[in-house]
Every structure is written in structure tokens, then in C-alpha cells.
Subunit: 524 residues, 2 copies
Amino acid sequence: MLVDSLLRLREYRVPQCEIVELRLFIYSSSSPSPSVTRDVEEKRYLTLRTPFTLGGRGVFLFPKLIVAILATSPALLQPKVIIELIGNSLEMAGKQQNWVLMVTAQSPTNIAVIKYWGKRDETLILPINDSISVTLDPEHLCTTTTVAVSPSFDKDRMWLNGKEISLSGGRYQNCLREIRGRASSIEDEEKGIRIQKQDWEKLHLHIASYNNFPTAAGLASSAAGFACLVFALAKLMNVKEDQGKLSAIARQGSGSACRSLYGGFVKWVMGNDVNGSDSTAIQLASETHWDDLVIIIAVVSSRQKETSSTSGMRESVETSALLHHRSKEVVPKRILQMEEAIRTRDFPSFARLACVDSNQFHAVCLDTSPPIFYMNDTSHRIINYMEKWNRFEGTPQVAYTFDAGPNAVLIARNREVASLLLQRLLFFFPPLPDTDMDSYVLGDKTILKDAGVKSMKDVEALPSPPELKDNVPSQRHAGDVSYFICTRPGRGPVLLADESQALLHPKTGLPKKWTSKRIGNPIG
Amino acid sequence: MLVDSLLRLREYRVPQCEIVELRLFIYSSSSPSPSVTRDVEEKRYLTLRTPFTLGGRGVFLFPKLIVAILATSPALLQPKVIIELIGNSLEMAGKQQNWVLMVTAQSPTNIAVIKYWGKRDETLILPINDSISVTLDPEHLCTTTTVAVSPSFDKDRMWLNGKEISLSGGRYQNCLREIRGRASSIEDEEKGIRIQKQDWEKLHLHIASYNNFPTAAGLASSAAGFACLVFALAKLMNVKEDQGKLSAIARQGSGSACRSLYGGFVKWVMGNDVNGSDSTAIQLASETHWDDLVIIIAVVSSRQKETSSTSGMRESVETSALLHHRSKEVVPKRILQMEEAIRTRDFPSFARLACVDSNQFHAVCLDTSPPIFYMNDTSHRIINYMEKWNRFEGTPQVAYTFDAGPNAVLIARNREVASLLLQRLLFFFPPLPDTDMDSYVLGDKTILKDAGVKSMKDVEALPSPPELKDNVPSQRHAGDVSYFICTRPGRGPVLLADESQALLHPKTGLPKKWTSKRIGNPIG
């Protein structure tokens, strides 16, 4: 064990460029523990104390880093070996103390069309049923994450949307631990950086993440976030595992994050293993398989404080009398039907399944004690309008689905329908007076163009949809929707090679003064 | 068959006091059909045409009444028999043509605490599970119904809240048929009225019904209405069946009506018979058994058009993947637990069961395709406030339950809690400016007095409830509740002996010009 430790030390990089001291204490196991702090304060030069005692305890002290070694085979602990090690370390410290290595990635959000609700294991985040999602085009909704490593970092730190947040939560720790445990050696000859597999355990990380859409607005920001974090870290640390294994790591950050590791249509297989190794995402079809679909998200105004999905699903598992029946009896059949609907691009089946499953998920929330309400009156109105339109047309034109919030995700069967859908949405939910259309319909603006709506005047001129003809003049609900985002199914995570897109400064490893413009925010 | 018809005719009363004509046509089956209209126009006196043809067709014409007899055994059709019959009829017409016999009853509404949702037989109205309800005090919420019979009525007619409505619907027809089939003879010596059992099939009814609360506002108006109709008709027609059998008849008008035939705590047993004979209500405990309870109803403002409960539950049965599990696996256990909670006056269990079952019923509505939303944002807010308060107190103070609409029915464990509850409700949902408190809190005004609220100024001065202390200043939602009704568990249907409370005029049998004042409307 001592040998191991020494060998590891050989590869160790001194983690501060200002290092002027390096000390080796070898204490006898019978001697009192060293007062390291006092030693550091008192001495400003390299010290090597010998002889070391048989069966003693060694402490290598670097500024801000202590490596303790328990000598089990002290015969191997020769002074010259130690001295050589220290010399090597100092040399490397002089050379490389200054570098920052980083990787930037972009990951999509996803929207479940067969819902995940309920865990069988809270820590490993193992679900009680399979789920299926559509990945949303990262051009319109995505997380960008830069991960950096440097010997100059003295702890793991993270900034979300420019604000530092704590990494102490179990979910972050799980992801960092799992990725570090699978890290491989890397060598960047150009920069003169060499990191051995075992070094990753010691090196600290800086992470900066940015969502180009409102965080915690019910738009799966944590899914995109953890997928992006795991994907970027895996690239940085040269993790050799395939995307499926990465999805199982992202899953431990946020369950639905595992589905954001693929583009197109993705299934999260619940798995059977107690350790969760087979609870991974698989791609059912890529985004090009069914590229007619257009997705419009209605971001619904809400004053209500919402229950987090984590605590919500825990309470459902504990109290709902219907959830177990859903996960055991209902969802397995729907999964098969949904896979078939996707495979055959059968929109009516796809829409029917997505709508009933969204509604059933919210039904289970209502069956929770205390009940959870994610949808509000505006959500209900949107559903009623869509149901009426679909019935009027005789066959579904639009699927709707709602996650743990009031926002509607509407999936139109094609572009023509999407433009009719947007007309309807703007008819029922016009912007408040003096709203710029350009900030009210975001994302793929060509849908707005197809809908023939350029200004508030065009919105006011929109006719009442024919499916309402026999009714009294329809109410319009200005202000009930904050904005719309037009998008489509999209690709999985990608690396951003252009270093100007990094969120961390390449020299300091600290966040750039970011603005939404810098990283090409399509929203707003 | 001819003999039967003649014997029935013997008992027939001539239904118009102005009768001056009575004609008997006996047509040969081979002769052309008589032109009755022309005959009536041409002749102004009694005609008896003989001889009658063997195997012929007879037509008795009274003004506004035609009785057709097919002679199957013509030997019995002797002229003298016919003449005697006609003579008798004319004599009776002279004596009794003028009377109106009527009965007025009052029936309570009820609120289910274990919900009825879903029929196994649409026509007989047989439920898929047992349900339990609390009968509400008819002093505050009730239907008053007057039923009248008179030979001068030429058809069954009904007025609801002063407006004539059609009785052609199957539900009314079922109740009328079932009650008529169980009618007994009556004799009112004073008025000189004698009605034989079999006469009821021929006599027509006038029915006037009035709810002292908004019809179809989700306050179980149809339950009170059909219970009252069946109860009043049974009294009028001297039906000898017990209350349980009557409940099975009321059930065929509106399922939950069967529970309004008893006061206090009532269980509707789903039964097993295909003909529904054992699907009846039983009283679990009278209203005096647990008289601490106070009930406050929040009538929630709603612009939404709601799905009727009839079509709603049909759609749930047809499309919900959760309803069957609820009715088979969940409700039977809850029924036993609720019976026990009522028996032992165990409020925490009562409240817990009532809340989760209300929520599960609405969950099943959401799991219906298309989904049904009965609760709105205001309903959700009320639930959230009650849940927070109950949690804060450590044990339930208030149970909530919602029927097929947004109105909240809140059951407080006792009067002290009710006054705290009303303070909270008025804090969160103050009336709009310039609302008279007296028209904002209806029913049992002593609760308002206990709460110490006399004016809008008192409402404005209400403190934020302590359970919200750690929150930002709470929002108040003026106008989101139309009004509150304070009430309590109450008695079953009763007869109103005082004829001034009848809704029909005792001479004409037509609706009185009613006002809410006349019948002592406690609301408004």
C-alpha cells in the first residue's frame, strides 16, 4: 500500500504555481500527530526529515494538500526514492502549475411523451417504469456547460447562469464521483499537460452552465443540465464508456437527464439491477426519422409556487393509491404502443398516447397526499382547445403534454398544422398590449411567418377557429401565456470546439462575464 | 282484453267539467277508420251508435281524450253495459271534475365524502362502487317540490324554479313510471276525492320544484331534486314502500339522489342485482350522531362550461385506465374505514379519507379522455390553504371535498374551528368592494358572528393566518369566491303541511307567482 501510494505520488502534480515549499514528514506511528498548520506557518523552505521510522506514518504536505501514507512495508520507503519523487514533483510543478484544461458541450432538453413519475431507489434514481421522450432541438432550448480542470483550482466549484451554486448536493457528488471513477489518462502535448488516470481524484473542477431558457420554468432544465455536465466531464476526463453508460451516470443527477444524451426519440429503460447499471437510455430513432413534427411550447404565466418534481414523485410513491397500478399495469402497454407509433410515424396513435399519458401523470399528482397541482387554468384551457380542435378535425392534429409545471408542449403533426396551431394559440392567448411579437414567439420564427402574423394588428385580426363556430364569441386570454417557443425534435449533446463559446476564462478558469448574447441565446 | 278495458273505463273520471258530449263509436274492423275530428266538429250532443260489429273497433271519445278498444270478445260488449258505463262516468264528471290534490315536500342535498363516479348500468343508474355522503341541513340548502294531481290536467308538466321544463327525459319518466306502478288507492272524504290504484296510470301530474341555491352550480341540485320528487310523489300516491325502496327509485332519476332520502350520514350500497333492486341507500347515522361538525361551502366563481357529471362519468368508465382500479381496489377499503370513522366520530380519519377520496375522484376525471377539469385555480388554492393549515396544526382541522364543479365543501371539526376557518376564507377570498357581508356569507350566520366579522372593515383587518408566517405577504383573491354558505349535517326529506308553502296554486294546479321570499329562501 505504501508502494502504491508512492507510485501515485510520482505522478502527482504540485497544484499551485506559487509553491516554494514541499515537506515530507514521516512520523512514527507512536509519535503524536503532527501539527501541520504550525509547521507551515513557521517554515518557508523545503524540508525533508529523516530517518523515517519503521511502521511509521508519513505525511506529505503540499500547500493546501495533505497526502497521508501509512507505511505497511517500510523497507521500501528508501530516502532516495522519496527524494527523487519530491524532485520530480517540484519540476513538474514549475512547468505545469499554470494550465487550465477545459471542454464545452451543449445538451438538449427532452420532453417525455410517456412519463417518468416515481422512483424505486431515491439515491440511484431508479424509476418505477420505462419512459419515452422526444429530444428538443438544442438550437432553441439547450444547456451549455464548460468544465475545466487545473492544478490551481483549490476546490470543485460551479456557476449556474453566472451565479455560483453549491456542489455539495448528492446529485452533483454522484455524477462527479462516477465520472472521476471512470476517468482515463490524457496528454495534451501542445499545452504540455499530462494527467494520469489516478490524478483525476485529486484535481478540482470548475463548472459553468447556462440555460438559454428559464431555469425551473418546467422546461426540463435539470435534464439538459445534468446531461451536459456528464457529457462534458466525460469528454474532459477521457471517459471511454459508451453513451448508454454515460446516461446511467446522468440519471444519478436527474432521472430524465439520461434521456438527453441522445437526439430524436429516446427510451429510458427502467432496468432490474439493484445497482442501477441497466437503468439506461437508448435511442429509439434519431431526429431525422420523423422530421415532420413541429413543437410549440407555451410558457404559461404562473404565480403559484410549485412542488419540485423530486419531492412530488416521492410523495406520489408514498401516498398515491393509483401510481402503482399505473406503473405496473398501464405504462408497460403504452410503452410498446408508443414505440410502435414512433417506428411507424403513426401520428394519431402518438398523439393519443402522449395526451392520455400526460393526463394520467397529472392525475397521479392529484391522487397524491397532499395533492400536487402542476397545471393551472391556462393549462386546462389549452387542453380543452386542443381536444376540441382534434375532435373537429376527426383525427389528431396536435398532441399535448405537460411536465411538472403549467407549460404546454404541443406537438403538431407537420408544419402546416403548426402554423394553424400558432394562429389558434395567438388567437386565444394574445400578448399583452405593447408586446413585441419578436419577443412573444421565440425559437423557429419561420412558423410565425407561415402563420402570417407579423404584428399585434395581425393577432387582433385572427379569426375565431372554425371548431368554435357554434359557440358564443370566444374569450381571449391576454397575458396568460408569457411567450411561445417554436422548435422541433433535435439532436443529442455535442462538443463546442470553438473556445469563444466556453463559459470559463481559458486562463483563470473563472466564469466569463457572460451575457445571453455571447452564447447565442435564441430566446430574447 | 275488451272486458279489461271496459272495467277500467268504469272507474274513469271524465276529465273536464265543461263536458256536454260523450260519444261511443264502435267501428267494424273492416270499416274505414273514423274521422274523429270531423265528427266532433259536426255534432254537439251525446251519440251512441249501435249496433257494434263483431270483431269491431271501438272508440270512446271524450273531449281531449280518446280511448280505443279493440273488441276481442264482442259478445260481452252489450249496449246496456256501455250505456251504464257512460252514465256513471258522466255522473262522476259532474261531481269531481274540479279538484286538485297536492303534496309539498322538502329534501336536502348531500355531499359525498367517498365519491360515486361511474355507472355499471346507465339506464338503471347502478354505480361501480359504494359511496358515503353527509346530508346537508335543508334549512340552508334544499329543494322544495309540490306535486299535484287533478282530472283536469291533460298532461304531466313540470316547472323548475318557475320555468317550465320538459318531462320527456328518461330520468323523469323512470321515476314517474316506478312511482305510478307502486301507487295505492286514496280517499279524501273531506274533498270527496277517491282515486283507485289503477287510476294513477291515467291521471296527470303537475310538479313544481324550487332550489334555494343555484341550480347546476355543483351543489347537488339534481340529488335534492329527484329525492324530493320521489318523496313527494310517494306521499301523494300513497306508495307503501319503505325509504330504502324509494331511494332506489330516486336513484333512477339521479344516482346521488338516493342518498338524499336520509338525514345524517348515508351509504349508497352499490348492490349486485342486475335489476338494481338492492342498489339502495341506508342511513349509517342520523344527523344528531355527530353534531359538532360545521360545513362551509365556498361557491367558486367560474366562467368555465362544465362537463355534466352524467356524461363525465360515462367517459371515465369508457376511457380511464385508473377508474376500475379505484372502484375495485381502493374504494371498498375506504368505505369500511369511513364507516368506522363516522361510527367513532374520528375526525382525523374522516378528514383524511374525505380529502384523498375527493382528490382521487378528480384524478380519475383527469385520467379521462378527453380529460375533465372540475376544479379550477381557486379550488386548488383552497386545497393548498387547508392542507397547509392542517399540517401546521398537526392534526386535521378541516376536511375538504369537491363534487363535479369548482365549489369547495369544507367540513370543520367543530364550531370553534369553523369560525377560524371562516376567518381564513374571508382573509384569502374577501368579497369585492361594496359587497354586503350579509349576502356574502349565507346560511347559518352565527358562524360569521363567532368569527367576529361584521363588515368589510373587519375583513380587511383580518390577520394573516399563523401557518403562513414564514411566507411573503399572502395574496388575497377578491372576487374568486361568489359567496359562502354556512351549514351543518341535517335531516332527510319532510312533508310541508302548511299549504301556503306549496308551489302550485291549490285551485288551478298551476305555479304560483313565486319569489324566493315566499318560500323562505335563506340564501339572499
